[in-house]
Symmetry: C2
Subunit: 563 residues, 2 copies
């Protein structure tokens, strides 16, 4: 029931989190006065669609605009004011200072409760030429319009994308549609930093298969504008300059905290600090979305996260709490997916690299099952890597890449993770199986089987990145068929096809460790079981030869010896 004195709610920012908060507030209270100030000229637009609108996959930019201020007002009786920037917060008086774009006058607006949903600023690295007119960031509809206008006016066929993260890859994928020549310039050794290197391998191949010029470990010296006779270029510290008529910079974001800072609200390392009710250090001021730090469910640590789903839920929750419902935000697990040409990559929780950096001591397994039954047409193998706690089997992270069924498996694993499930639970998980959709043993079950075997001591594994080869290392046994071996193998390996292993056990040296491997890990596991029961010290190569290939690990960079 509405309170007697109508609540005055002011919201700063009219995209995902802000608009979710505003509409939820109205559903909870018909009498509240709800005002949204948006400094840009659009509210409630789908910024996740911007790469696709640039590439013409989404034909009409207007499709991105989900609501106009007028439509929001008509439906929700919410006062949406665009082109209005909130300059400061007077916490004592409970007012904000607001200035309209192009105006000098400042309006003082009172609030009972204030919600900040200001998002994050695209980061522009301090590179020479970063402010040139052909260099763009790509976050808002005006950003999109500027890039389109530049292309329309100046033409241009060569685009350099600085940053090989989520948005950089989406932009590359979308722009490829337009027939442009694309370069991706990534500072790190692999694209998509939330991923481990071995999962990025298939992405690199896919990107290059589409004739994109992919530069990794690339340090940019400067950007040069196109001259009258000279092409625009991105000049690297080391390497051939990249010709670029247009440069798009998508190297990450920084939470917009300056308004909150000015108001002396508590700021964390990466964003505004909030409690589980989305309250800042001032109980009458809430903050949501990309500008805040929220608790990560795996580590319990505060972390900034730029995802639309959490931003929307946080906005809804801020309104819930303002209107008297005590509902806690449960923290993030960082579930995300990205289309990279014909591949999908998705992840949840942390990569093994991140876990190790944070001081975790996880176990992890890699499987390469098909997305659906191999005997039904159109089946494709995926790579699925799951990390978990050594002591309990609790899920810590999952990453997958492949042609089909990737988002499904990561969503299932994200659900399992949020439920606190372990690898043992994945063994038992009953998932839908019909030939077009899955297998009697789903990829998630497969990961569960391998992980549980490892936890129970039924198998011991070695990861491709830890594999040492050479005369003094372990004996390596390739248990694949000779035909498979002829297409590539690990140096120093001996080939004993699995079906011949029992009868050839005596050819192996019981005094030395044996590393067995097959193509994807299953036959290696069977070989492990045979050799282990014969008394060998044996380990199976996790994910098999395919993981070595995809990861581009040392073992392969050694010159190949004769078997």
């Amino acid at each position: 029931m509405p309170s007697k004195v109508p609540m005055r709610l002011v919201i700063v920012g009219g995209v995902a989190g802000g608009m979710s908060a505003a509409t939820r507030a109205r559903r909870l209270d018909e009498t509240a006065s709800i005002t949204v100030f948006e400094r840009g000229s659009y509210v409630s637009y789908a910024n996740c669609g911007i790469p696709y609108a640039l590439g013409g996959v989404i034909k009409d930019d207007a499709a991105l605009v989900l609501q106009t201020p007028q439509a929001v007002n008509d439906r929700f009786n919410i006062d949406v004011q665009i082109n209005k920037e909130v300059l400061s917060i007077n916490r004592e008086n409970h007012t904000v200072d607001v200035r309209a774009k192009g105006s000098e006058s400042i309006q003082q607006v009172p609030y009972d409760k204030l919600i900040l949903s200001q998002g994050a600023e695209p980061f522009r690295p301090p590179i020479g030429g970063i402010d040139l007119p052909n260099v763009f960031t790509l976050q808002t509809i005006p950003d999109l319009q500027k890039v389109k206008a530049y292309l329309a006016e100046h033409g241009g066929t060569r685009v350099a994308i600085i940053g090989g993260g989520f948005i950089g890859l989406e932009v590359a994928d979308a722009l490829h549609n337009l027939g442009l020549e694309i370069s991706i310039v990534e500072y790190m050794p692999h694209v998509f930093p939330p991923l481990d290197a071995d999962l990025a391998g298939p992405l690199h191949a896919e990107i290059r298969r589409h004739n994109v010029n992919l530069l990794l470990n690339a340090r940019i010296e400067k950007i040069e504008a196109p001259g009258i006779d000279t092409p625009g270029r991105v000049v690297l510290v080391d390497g051939v300059p990249i010709l670029a008529d247009l440069v798009i910079v998508v190297v990450g974001i920084r939470a917009r905290t300056s308004l909150a800072e000015k108001a002396n609200l508590k700021i964390g390392k990466t964003g505004v600090t909030v409690n589980p009710f989305m309250q800042t250090s001032d109980p009458d001021i809430y903050a949501v979305g990309d500008m805040i730090e929220s608790e990560h469910r795996i580590t319990g640590r505060a972390l900034q996260l730029a995802l639309a789903g959490p931003a929307n839920r946080q906005g809804r929750l801020a309104a819930d709490n303002i209107f008297g419902r005590k509902i806690s935000y449960r923290g993030n697990v960082g579930t995300s997916a990205c289309k990279v040409f014909n591949l999908t990559v998705a992840s949840v929780g942390f990569s093994v690299t991140s876990l190790l950096q944070m001081g975790f001591d996880p176990l992890w397994v890699t499987v390469h099952p098909p997305d659906h039954a191999g005997y039904y047409p159109g089946s494709h193998p995926m790579t699925l890597k799951v990390a978990f706690e050594k002591e309990t089997g609790r899920l810590l992270g999952a990453q997958a890449v492949g042609t089909a069924g990737i988002d499904k498996r990561i969503d299932v694993l994200a659900t399992a993770m949020q439920a606190g499930m372990t690898m043992f639970d994945l063994e038992h998980l009953e998932l839908a199986y019909a030939p077009p959709y899955g297998s009697a043993k789903d990829p998630v079950n497969m990961a569960g089987f391998v992980g549980s075997n490892l936890l129970r001591g039924d198998v011991n594994i070695i990861h491709a990145e830890d594999l040492k080869i050479g005369q003094d290392a372990a004996q390596i046994v390739d248990v694949r068929s000779p035909g498979e071996v002829s297409r590539g193998y690990i140096p120093y390996a001996v080939n004993i096809p699995l079906n011949k292993l029992r009868e050839n056990v005596s050819t192996l040296d019981k005094g030395r460790r044996v590393v067995v491997y097959c193509q994807v890990g299953y036959r290696g596991y069977l070989a492990y079981r045979i050799l282990k029961q014969k008394g060998f010290d044996v380990v199976n190569l996790d994910g098999g030869y395919k993981s070595v290939l995809e990861g581009g690990f040392k073992a392969l960079q050694t010159s190949r010896e004769k078997l």
Copy 2:
């Protein structure tokens, strides 16, 4: 480590559960003697692929045969004997009597542990003509070969499928590929009995859109074979006879319990009784797969279930327990999916109909969100219905139908259900969002929002099947736009578009209940919030007008009155 005296394990049945048990046993014990008796001539084949092999979607029947006896022996050192039937079990002596096909002599084979994995028998209803040579069941590779041979020899363009369940629909879908004229004859009022009627509506439309002659509530009098001058027919008690050169009977299965019965093992209502370790009433005899009853996780009751995933896991678990690992089966939730032409239908847990029949008093909600962001090309709406406990919000069942993303949402909900999650948990679930894959508010979140609103009393709903119309019923308010209304509406409704509702509240009678509805339920919910806060007794129509249309409910069968 292997025991001193090698275990003698005998397995009856060499398909899903049996072969999973055999290979797991070998992985656990290199020394065990493992023998599999299969009465058919194939082991380890993908019976789930048979409809597709019949329809030529799978080009080569051989693709269904995952393993030959020889290959299993070569790899696993397992003695696989095909065309051998186990006739009886002598529990006291720990032997089974085995007879080879076409032979009279009986072989006595000793066992220490016995696993039964005999599957289920296709049910042949007692109809006149059921044993005619043009009437087939379709469970095994020989069944498949018989149908193909019949078609090759006799030709025929008209196929009647008796039974509109899972396999019947897959067969219809697959045979449609061959350009045959197909009829489906279903005894019940709708296809796919695990589903509620409203979810089956879109399936009926899709089936008929593919020119399949779909007969519901159809009682068969007899089947007539094709004569020299007369076509084969399926004659109904009531209605036009169906011309059918070939009849495929897929009306369900019965657990194969006769061997277990003869051995005086405990049998339940629908299959052999086992404990959570897959042990029958004789601790040395295990049983797995379609022939047993296992506990349903929702009801705790024993139920027969014919799904390959559970069969495989049960087989693996029986071997685990035999070789000293006490691992309990966790029961089933019945997760399944089925391709029906361009639609997918999937479900987990129980339908509302089943829950009500079993004496549950559930709540349920229906949503129609798109499979991925509407602004990205190729988005399709789905229908998702979720049932849950009134008191706790615990998930009891979920059903979905649509063009894309159906199996994903049901797998997520199946995972949530197995984790014991509630509707409140679905609100918070963080799932992967990128425009090609989902929305910031995933369909699963949407169901969670609606369900949680209902549980918290933030909305009250009425289901389409309960909607009464007429002068003496509630006032019905259609809050859609006039354009939408012009394409169809609920009789007796008045049209007040949502954005005009606040200003037109006074035109409604506060003394009578108001039913609000829109196209899919969201605007109806907004209207509910407005009217409720104005003091009205109001309910929102669950799933909106779309649910009425899809369900074909009474409200629409009444003659349409003028607005």
